[in-house]
Amino acid sequence: MVPVSYYLILSAILFSIGLGAFLVKRNIITIFMSIELMLNAVNLSFVAFAHQWHQVSGQIFVFFVMVVAAAEAAVGLAIIIAIFRTRNTLNVDQVDLMKL
């Protein structure tokens, strides 16, 4: 028997680590991965609340988040490939101009 609040605290830990990694990391791929980590943390709290209220809608929400995350990963990685092709770097500090 585990309190639901434990799951929510675990979700808060994962979200905070993802937020810290998002701000600290300089590699564009790692920044993108920390966004995925934050999405996963929120998904965990959705599933915990779905269990708490015995509602299916929370899990449906997680399903849609997964679909959108898959689409986001495909487009985002394509953008990263395009950035690397034009600038030859993955460091976000060197990608600060809209136009070359």
């Binding site: 675990l10 600290v24 300089r26 993108f32 965990l44 299916v56 899990q59 959108v68 990685l77 500090d93």
Partner: protein, 164 residues
């Protein structure tokens, strides 16, 4: 027993996430993210979401992370170098994230009496339950996401294509 399982896989989650933060090479970060996602799938199973556990392994730990590792290897990404901008991020980023965590943990612990307990096998959502809601009440959003996926595929191909 249930508490032990929760702490094992919750600890794996936190360890993987911390490893993602501390590693400097993107491929190590990607592999630790796979650990986080796989142990989250086990936590979903403990919460009675069997379809989501399977989808987590297949979609997240499988498809999305393969895409990530593929791009890392394709671009031959090396170790990240420290630059001038990252010092300010260290100063602002870690206290900000810690403050957010402290706030959330305070709220959750304060209201933990109102939240219930999770017992294993008490509430199980089968794939049938999920699909009944998804294909009866939420058919339009489901079809719209299929259009979204199609547009994402076209966008990815158009963006990653070599220009002549």
């Amino acid at each position: 027993m249930y508490l032990v399982l929760f702490f094992i896989f919750g600890g794996l989650c936190v360890a993987g996430a911390l490893n993602l933060l501390l590693q400097r090479h993107p491929i190590n970060s990607a592999l630790s993210l796979i650990v986080v996602m796989s142990s989250l799938a086990v936590l979903y199973l403990l919460l009675g979401a069997e379809f989501l556990a399977a989808a987590q392994v297949i979609v997240y730990a499988g498809a999305i992370m393969v895409l990530f590792t593929f791009v890392i290897m394709l671009l031959n990404a090396g170790k990240e170098e420290r630059t001038h901008g990252s010092k300010a991020a260290y100063i602002v980023g870690f206290p900000g994230a810690a403050a957010l965590f402290a706030l959330l943990a305070f709220i959750f612990l304060q209201n933990s009496g109102h939240l219930g307990q999770v017992r294993l096998g008490e509430y199980l959502v089968t794939t049938g339950d999920l699909s009944r809601v998804l294909f009866k009440n939420l058919l339009l959003p489901f079809e719209v996401t299929s259009v979204l996926i199609l547009i994402a595929i076209l966008g990815a191909v158009a963006l990653a294509r070599k220009e002549h």
